[in-house]
Subunit: 257 residues, 2 copies
């Protein structure tokens, strides 16, 4: 018989954030973390805390959020995955469950994160795109967007691109390692990867890029804002949450599981 002992599992989670008040447990609102904790508790019959790689805001989606959880159970990772998906609502899916025997912490062990932001660039927001893409009706210039996005790559003080700098205790300096923009017909995809992001940093960067892409700001304004690192103003809007996906979280080690 399998051992009944404390085990740590790494969970890779996809969710549709439309109906949730973000990832993080809140007293009065439905959140993704809460839904996953409840499902695990029903299975293992003891209280658990699910530790995510970081928060996502209300309405933001995930294709590859990562979390860890400690459970006392004889279950293997495959049984846990199946039992969880059987209990969770269909807008949350556990894509992978892997037992971690060495040190693993979903937030502390993460070395980088990738977000993707999707935009529908057309006169009207199509009904079947509205929950998973932002909508911009003025034409976006792909070449300008690409030039502009590159300007975010590097180690900068992102003070002008954080929603509430007082929440960041130590520093607003972060490193963005990649920022690309691709287009398929009317769909634009922004991919940004970095060691870690400040509160609403991705939505602020994309919000400003969209202004640049419709000709409302020159691409050089990004370099200027990164150099001055003044607090964020109305000049930098947050892109809407519906277009944003936490796409992937990277950890140390050759093999990603």
């Amino acid at each position: 018989m399998a051992e009944r002992t404390t085990k740590r599992f790494k969970l890779t989670i996809a969710y549709d954030g439309t109906m949730y008040h973000g990832w993080q447990v809140q007293a009065k609102h439905r959140t993704v973390q809460q839904a996953v904790e409840h499902a695990i508790q029903e299975i293992v019959k003891h209280p658990v805390r699910v530790q995510g790689s970081g928060r996502t805001d209300q309405g933001v989606h995930a294709r590859g959020q990562v979390a860890h959880v400690d459970v006392v159970s004889h279950m293997g990772s495959k049984s846990l995955l199946n039992a969880l998906n059987a209990r969770l609502p269909t807008d949350i899916r556990i894509l992978k469950a892997v037992r971690k025997k060495g040190f693993f912490h979903a937030r502390k062990s993460a070395i980088s994160k990738e977000y993707r932001y999707f935009v529908w660039n057309g006169e009207l927001a199509l009904p079947d795109k509205r929950l998973y893409m932002a909508h911009i009706h003025q034409p976006l210039d792909l070449a300008v967007l690409r030039d502009a996005a590159k300007r975010f790559v590097g180690r900068y003080d992102f003070a002008s691109f954080v929603a509430n700098p007082s929440r960041e205790v130590f520093s607003t300096v972060r490193t963005v390692t990649d920022f690309t923009v691709t287009r398929k017909g009317r769909e634009f995809c922004f991919r940004v990867r970095g060691e870690g992001f400040l509160y609403k940093q991705v939505r602020s960067m994309v919000g400003f890029l969209l202004r640049v892409g419709v000709g409302g700001e020159p691409p050089e304004a990004i370099t200027e804002l990164l150099d001055t690192h003044l607090p964020r103003t109305e000049r930098v809007p947050s892109a809407t949450p519906n277009g944003l996906f936490l796409w992937r979280v990277w950890y140390k080690g050759k093999k990603q599981d």
Copy 2:
């Protein structure tokens, strides 16, 4: 000042069918036709009937449903379009509004229709795909699907592929002019065009194709069922409504508006 007279408008409509009991007005349920009629009535201040090209079932979507409506108004098509989109919920969008001066009837003038059916072929249904794609976890064989789909093209008695033949007063003979299958990664797209379709015919054809695609039936079974034209049995399942889109309706005339 613009004339205040009875005008017929052709409307091209996209909708997310998730929250509706189909197109057709029903006494106790929320339908798309009803939502559009209510919005027009608020604008023109008289009762209207919106005539669609045909029904769509509960949970089925549209990218290009077409309807006509007669209104007494001084409004032009652009003003009507904007006023309608301002009033309608975001899961229904009027893509085009065109005034028709000659004879035009959304159902009677239609010469053909195209439906598209989307399938996510992977182990799990991704949360952000679940409302607009059916989910098949067994691997689908694209070459087999293509061979099988072609067998539906032609003029046949589709009795084995209609949900309730008694609803079809005259005949279950219909013409399918095109049926293609394409694939992008894990997403399969079935495109079918024909002069007109029987009740649940598209979902029955796709339902059977999916059985063929996973090896549960040989492609030859389609030809056999079309030749015998026996009533539909459990051998022919309906594909789920979430993957189906009424994509386009064609009318006579060189220029489509």
